[in-house]
Symmetry: C2
């Protein structure tokens, strides 16, 4: 038996998944809420109850994907050691997440950065990166570990990422290689 709560949860997830698909095919700003409701096979009322504005939808999509990213990496780490390859694996997946965000959602910040830094989602991401950074370099002092995690996240925020893609013309792989070389050189 599906409870109402599960049903509501499923609708919400269906909307987000469909929105991501639609936004990949067309520019997000051009997709109307009516089109999205139809494609997701939910009523327009259901859509607006979940996301009163498109800004709310964009933000929910970004955080939904960030949450999935962190969960997937945590799952990966239950069967893999916390080492440098695991860090690189996690950063490659993070770049894929940033790249999707860059392709799919409107350019620029969706909310003030100060709000972002206070979210539990941000904390979860910092902790994930910190665990990986510490795992890759067990000698590193805890303060330096958090510092590196913060630095990574600041560098990958949407505008800074867009600068690397649009102006510096780096691919995801080139960004990953530079970050690994600069922040996590193989100890000699």
């Amino acid at each position: 038996m599906i409870t109402m709560r599960q049903d509501a949860q499923q609708n919400r997830q269906k909307i987000l998944t469909t929105a991501n698909q639609l936004f990949r095919e067309q520019t997000a700003a051009n997709v109307t809420m009516a089109q999205l409701a139809k494609a997701a096979q939910v009523g327009v009322g259901t859509l607006y109850r979940n996301f009163p504005t498109k800004g709310d939808l964009f933000l929910a999509l970004a955080y939904d994907q960030l949450g999935s990213y962190v969960s997937q990496q945590r799952a990966y780490l239950t069967t893999h050691p916390l080492d440098r390859p695991a860090l690189k694996h996690a950063l490659r997946a993070y770049l894929a997440f940033r790249e999707n965000r860059y392709q799919v959602l409107p350019k620029g910040s969706l909310e003030p950065a100060s709000q972002y830094y206070q979210r539990p989602d941000y904390q979860d991401l910092v902790h994930l990166f910190a665990d990986l950074i510490q795992g890759a370099d067990p000698q590193l002092a805890p303060a330096a570990v958090t510092f590196k995690a913060d630095m990574l996240i600041a560098f990958f925020r949407s505008d800074s990422y867009a600068l690397q893609r649009d102006v510096r013309h780096y691919s995801e792989t080139e960004i990953l290689d530079q970050v690994m070389t600069i922040l996590f050189p193989v100890s000699s």
Copy 2:
């Protein structure tokens, strides 16, 4: 003889210098344009002609100080070699600039980051940092030099800097030391 143009330039500079002083003493948001005009000894009309809104004033103040910072560092480098101590000297002064920004101007971005990244001021700062980074490590590939400069600037943007000060409780000196250790380790 002082031409009108010089006179206008002097008024503008007097307003910016006075604004910085006033904003250090009181919260920037509480200072009225009338108070500022009086303190700077210019007419209210002159003030508004230069800065139609307080947002314009904040932005002009930030860029005026960034411009001064870059000029001062370029002047310093005419009599000092481009080496690791020069890089540290420049970063210490940059942190003082960020700290003043953090103390004096409203929290958060004054403009979208994408605008900031397109400004000549940003290019000047990247070039300054790139010259210093290359000087400190002549072996580093040019692409990695620019990448490090971008990374530094992204990390020091206002919200990220505020995170380090407010949440991580680092002092300017601690931030400088972490950055030097992580991004510019003394080659062994």
